[in-house]
């Protein structure tokens, strides 16, 4: 405590925070599907989304974390709540919650799980490869590299989306535009 200011970066990616955030995310996810009240589910989903934003921060991706908070927690979830309050939730909460398509859901969930596990198994090998090349993933202890990676992250993001990946970016924009048009056409009988 009596020393001067700590010049290096304090490590963010401590196991404690990872387990805290991951636990919160999983707990929120479980609550989303088990609550009978739609508003409670939506609130649990917000908890999950915010903890995922925290996990992004731990991965040294502050921009993605910020976007996650603005778009999902701040924008989409408010609209969710808005819609839930407008529709008749009282009747919906009495419906059976698990309908006949649950086997399909189970298969989809298992596939996704398998994907994640394989990514994890392969990912640790990729991690070794990058470390050999002096590249960096969050487990690295080289704070200098962490700092350089962190600085100008938004800048690099912009260069990638508007440079190398312009086409994918524009396709995504077009998709969103089509969705907006579809929503307008569906709601407006007479345009």
């Amino acid at each position: 405590m009596n020393s001067a200011l700590n010049p290096g970066m304090a490590p963010v990616a401590t196991p404690f925070f990872f387990y805290l955030l991951a636990g919160l995310a999983i707990m929120g996810g479980i609550l989303v599907i088990t609550r009978s009240n739609a508003v409670h589910s939506a609130l649990s989903l917000i908890v999950t989304l915010l903890s995922v934003a925290g996990l992004y921060l731990m991965l040294y991706a502050p921009f993605v974390a910020g976007v996650q908070i603005i778009v999902y927690a701040g924008g989409i979830m408010v609209l969710f709540l808005f819609v839930i309050m407008l529709v008749n939730v009282e009747r919906a909460s009495k419906d059976r919650r698990f309908n006949r398509i649950w086997p399909i859901g189970l298969v989809a969930a298992c596939t996704l799980m398998g994907l994640f596990v394989s990514a994890f198994v392969k990912g640790s090998r990729i991690n070794d490869m990058f470390r050999d090349r002096g590249m960096l993933l969050p487990e690295s202890s080289n704070t200098q590299q962490v700092a350089s990676l962190l600085y100008g992250e938004v800048d690099r993001m912009g260069r990638y989306t508007l440079g190398q990946y312009t086409f994918a970016f524009e396709i995504a924009s077009l998709l969103l535009l089509v969705a907006i048009l579809g929503a307008v056409i569906m709601t407006k009988k007479k345009i």
């Binding site: 405590m1 009596n2 001067a4 200011l5 700590n6 010049p7 290096g8 970066m9 304090a10 009240n37 508003v39 409670h40 609130l43 917000i46 502050p62 921009f63 974390a65 910020g66 976007v67 908070i69 603005i70 927690a73 701040g74 924008g75 979830m77 408010v78 609209l79 709540l81 808005f82 309050m85 407008l86 962190l150 600085y151 100008g152 992250e153 938004v154 800048d155």
Partner: protein, 430 residues
């Protein structure tokens, strides 16, 4: 221990940058206390100013000129019964005010009161601020729903629709300011709050005057949208008392209600600081590049002392003008003591300014600089806070459809247009 404090005062890093948890905690506590005091002061000024706008006196009984009224109010709210309606959703009703409060106060992590006077300087500062302050609407929506009552629900629906709509125009206005930060030799902009102010310093112009009138239009859009974002008059649809009793917090009472008030005022200060940081040069004093001679430096460093001296003078005038009836004796003594305290602060600031002027690169000069930064920042924010009161006293409330029409059909196209023109002009001139 003194060594420790000195080592901090000599540094030019924010605690977050330096990775120093202890000073970060101190900063958080100082900011929390400061904001709470500001909210108390704002409460008093708002009641007094509104009263004077309407040719009334306002609170006069509790303390001299009602100076102790906010404390009396706070005490009353603490002692009031805290009612949770039996039909309400207990847990959500309980948690709703806390969501708003957390969102309003978390934002202060990145507000730069000076080049090193912030808890942390994030790489995504402005994005973080917008994101977290947009979470505040969740508190309102959830409060309205959990009350299980019609007026709060309508208030919550209105408020969520309003805030989501105005966020769009607000975000686009912010983007056009961020675009201006990239007009330097490297062509790289920044989202960091400190970086944005430094960019203004580098380019030698506050962004409100940059590419006149483009910067000004973006600023005006933000200034309108931020009133709607904080649910203040004339956009206070969510709590329109003539239509919805008290809107989303109709069912709240006592302490929980006061949390809503606290978070509303904290959010007002937060959005004002965004406006100040982005367009009004943040902590910079007027003309830092033009009038940079030591003499000017000294003149501007006298401003904090002068402000407190002026406040002390007003307090003393009030003491003299107090009616001479014995009933006012205690009030007169109280006001005189208050004035004397303000005068002492003024004297201290004056001493620091003089000591910092004569010596170079010492603790006193560092101190003088920090005080100057915080002073100019707070002064600019205070102007906005007064504007909030002025709006409320001047303009009648909008109708909800008018509000939506302005948001989507006027502000959004204008902000998009300003963004595009700013980009074009920026490319041409750089």
């Amino acid at each position: 221990m003194p060594n420790f404090i000195m080592s901090y005062l000599g540094s030019t890093l924010t605690p977050g940058e330096a990775g120093n948890q202890f000073w970060a905690l101190v900063y958080v506590l100082v900011i929390f206390a400061g904001v709470s005091v500001a909210v108390i002061a704002m409460n008093w000024i708002e009641r007094k100013a509104l009263a004077h706008f309407q040719i009334r006196l306002g609170p006069m009984r509790v303390g001299p000129h009602g100076l102790l009224q906010p404390f009396a109010d706070a005490l009353k709210l603490m002692l009031k019964e805290d009612i949770i309606p039996s039909e309400a959703d207990q847990f959500v009703f309980w948690v709703a005010p806390l969501i708003g409060l957390l969102a309003a106060f978390t934002v202060y992590t990145v507000i730069p009161f000076g080049p090193s006077q912030a808890v942390s300087d994030m790489n995504i500062g402005i994005l973080f601020m917008l994101g977290v302050s947009s979470l505040g609407v969740l508190g309102i929506v959830v409060a309205g729903w959990a009350s299980n009552s019609n007026y709060p629900l309508i208030g919550a629906l209105r408020s969520s629709a309003q805030m989501v709509s105005y966020e769009v125009a607000m975000g686009l206005a912010v983007v056009s300011a961020i675009l201006m930060t990239s007009l330097n030799s490297t062509g790289t902009g920044t989202l960091s709050m400190i970086g944005i102010v430094q960019a203004q310093q580098q380019q030698g112009v506050w962004f409100i005057f940059k590419f006149f009138p483009l910067g000004f239009i973006a600023f005006a859009i933000f200034a309108i949208a931020m009133v709607a974002e904080t649910n203040r008059a004339p956009f206070d649809m969510a709590e329109a008392e003539s239509e919805l009793t008290a809107g989303y917090h109709t069912e709240y009472s006592g302490f929980r209600w006061s949390l809503f008030m606290l978070s509303e005022y904290a959010a007002m200060i937060a959005v004002s600081s965004i406006a100040v940081t982005l367009w009004l040069g943040g902590w910079m004093r007027p003309f830092p590049n033009l009038l940079h001679a030591p003499a000017w430096e000294f003149v501007f460093s006298l401003f904090p002392a002068l402000t407190f001296g002026g406040l002390a003078a007003i307090a003393f005038i009030g003491t003299v003008r107090m009616p001479s009836h014995s009933f006012f004796k205690i009030q007169r003594i109280g006001l005189a003591v208050f004035g004397a305290l303000l005068g002492l602060v003024a004297l201290l600031l004056l001493l620091i300014a003089i000591a910092g002027h004569s010596a170079d690169e010492t603790l006193a000069s560092r101190f003088k600089e920090s005080i100057g930064h915080v002073y100019w920042f707070v002064l600019k924010v205070a102007v906005f806070m007064y504007l909030f009161i002025w709006y409320r006293a001047t303009w009648p409330r909008y109708r909800f459809d008018q509000l939506m029409k302005i948001g989507w059909k006027v502000m959004l196209p204008i902000s998009l247009g300003v963004l595009m023109i700013t980009a074009i002009v920026g490319v041409i001139f750089s």
